[in-house]
Amino acid sequence: MAKPLPDTKGRFGRYGGRYVPETLMAPVQELARSYDHFRKQRGFKAELSRLLAEYVGRPTPLYLAERLTKELGGAQIYLKREDLLHTGAHKINNALGQCLLAREMGKTRIIAETGAGQHGVATATAAALLGIDCVVYMGTEDMRRQRLNVYRMELLGAEVCGVDSGSQTLKDAINEAMRDWVTNVENTHYVLGSVLGPDPYPRMVRDFHRVIGTEARRQLRKMAGRGEPDVAVACVGGGSNAMGLFQVYLDSKKVDLVGVEAGGRGGDLGDHAARFSGGELGVLHGARTIVLQDDHGQVSTTHSVSAGLDYPAVGPEHVYYADKGRIEFVRASDEEAVDAFHRLAATEGILPALESAHAIAEVIKRAPTMDEKSIMLVNLSGRGDKDVESVLEWDAAARGGVAAEVTPHPSANPSATTDGEDGA
């Protein structure tokens, strides 16, 4: 069982809380009450389970990646295949849960923010399923990077609003979604897509993703003879897929929990999204947490090849467990992530999302240092179809040419040397 956190003020130790304008305070409190009511209600739980099984495609497989294991020559690598879910990522677990809750609360309109587009697509999907109006805010830079997902959302009946302010990425999309929510709070529920924001979001999103960890542990016990891996790895933007997996192992002290942040293109502020190595305690989007910011408390822009990790703050619960030394945070650069993308494609026939490729990058570094009896459990949180264009652009730039023809990246062949441009 996870610790009874957060406390009644929505705090994980010093982190979390409800730092929102007064207009949102009563609605946030009401949301917390509704969530606490419905999450225990049998009818609600049954409908969510049924839809997760019949519509979303749960349980997802756990897969022993034998070729990758053999190539790396160390720990056995198990992939939790959240990439196989309907809409292509773990995000649907939470989006569906929150949309069902919104319907129970009598809300007639759903809004969401999205970075890579996966949460936007998941929310648009759940809204279509339940017949609720849906508006998704997305940074214009992300719309460029993820134009297929933009069209997918539109096909699903959602209105996609481009956000042109700031860095035109996830943070700015959240700003705009919060402004919409403040304005339309009476009939609108904001489906926040990660373990961020004011209470109850961090715990609600965590709970809706708990199914990832519960399944993985059960499957691992069956396949490997023990439910506890030696290491569990997940990428961390806001941190929802990581929390989904890690929460079932928090009390199993033998399981090392490793979160992988976006190391981007270098160590300077603005070049990465590695909050744990470059961030300071601050308050952003409703929670006290670690934030990448300057000395004057202005939030920094971030960079990552992966839109879903391109965010200056991190879920407050992650910070709590980082302080306790329970979750270790490492980083993978853009270049390492793209290499991992190629590696998994070539060895296992799986295109991971660029976000999840950051977790694979850590596997590539760590697995060879472990013995062959040890087990590494990786949350493969999403699939990479959406990223093919970005990777194509990246490869072309790395070769110093244009994306005229599609040729394999050098790292698709592990024996070749990489020729990335400016990876950290």
Binding site: P21, A26, G166, T183
Partner: protein
């Protein structure tokens, strides 16, 4: 009334007391500090005082202003581009206070204060003559442990928001934790003018005033002398922000910007003095 509340009257208390004597509402203009840059901003704040401001709300620019509409977002962006920091605004306030007696309330998001540290901030704000602080994203529930003790210690008024969504319990706790005045957000939404005031606003203000027990200022979406008059008939204070910020946007580079600002403030506040 909270036991923690000071007995001595603050400059903000005195303004509202004086206005009450004159049987009028206080005029409270808002500008983002450092917009379009510190030098010109300083002249504009003086112009607000000259034009008839009773209290001045000085916005601290923030990178992620979730409670602001497009006009104030752009203002914050201009100010940040010009290198404005919380530090610089405190210094600016100190300078202004040698020239004007008008109370200054900082209207800010919490993170810049958090970065400076609530104690350090309160100390320096007091030194620089800041009279009140309103933190948009720090409701009293959170402020009680973080910022309130430091502000009280330095004798700076803590102004909190109330909104149309505020419940009876929240109205009570916000009123108890506030000093100086309470700021009522006229409608659910972000800063900036819309077509008109919502129908029930004046009635809501009348009801709320009885419950709050402190002067009640009303802001968000008030942009014309007529609206000032309408709200001023019930509220203890009327805040006008985006309408003035727009002047900077339109005439930022004109040499007569400060004169225009002074005149516009005079025009907007005139109905309260009629």
């Amino acid at each position: 009334m909270s036991l923690l509340r000071r007995k001595k009257k603050s400059p903000i208390d005195q303004v509202f007391a004086a206005c009450r004597k004159e049987k009028r509402s206080a005029f409270i203009p808002f500008l983002v500090g450092g917009d379009p840059d510190i030098e010109r901003s300083r002249a504009l704040i003086l112009a607000l005082a000259e034009g008839g401001a009773d209290i001045i709300e000085l916005g601290v620019p923030f990178s992620d202003p979730i409670a602001d509409g497009p006009t104030n977002q752009r203002a914050a962006f201009r100010a940040l581009e010009a290198g404005t920091t919380l530090d610089a605004l405190l210094q600016m306030t100190k300078g202004l206070k040698t020239e004007i007696a008008t109370p200054i309330v900082l209207f800010t998001y919490y993170n810049p204060i958090h970065a400076m540290g609530p104690e350090t901030f309160s100390e320096r704000a007091a030194e620089c003559g800041v009279d009140g602080v309103l933190c948009v994203d720090l409701p009293p529930d959170e402020a009680a442990d973080e910022l309130l003790p430091a502000l009280r210690d330095k004798g700076i008024d803590s102004v909190f928001l109330l909104a149309p969504t505020s419940t009876r319990d929240r109205i009570k706790s916000v009123s108890q934790q506030s000093t100086g005045f309470v700021y009522y957000v006229s409608r659910s939404g972000v800063t900036g003018s819309q077509d008109g005031l919502r129908e029930a606003l004046v009635r809501d203000v009348r009801k709320l005033r009885k419950r709050v027990g402190l002067p009640l200022a009303v802001g968000f979406g008030i942009a014309t002398p007529e609206q000032v008059a309408e709200v001023g008939a019930e509220a203890d204070g009327v805040v006008v922000g985006s309408e003035l910020v727009r002047l900077i946007e339109r005439h930022g580079d004109d040499s007569d910007l400060a004169v225009r600002m002074r005149d516009r403030v005079a025009e907007l506040s005139a109905p309260l003095r009629a």
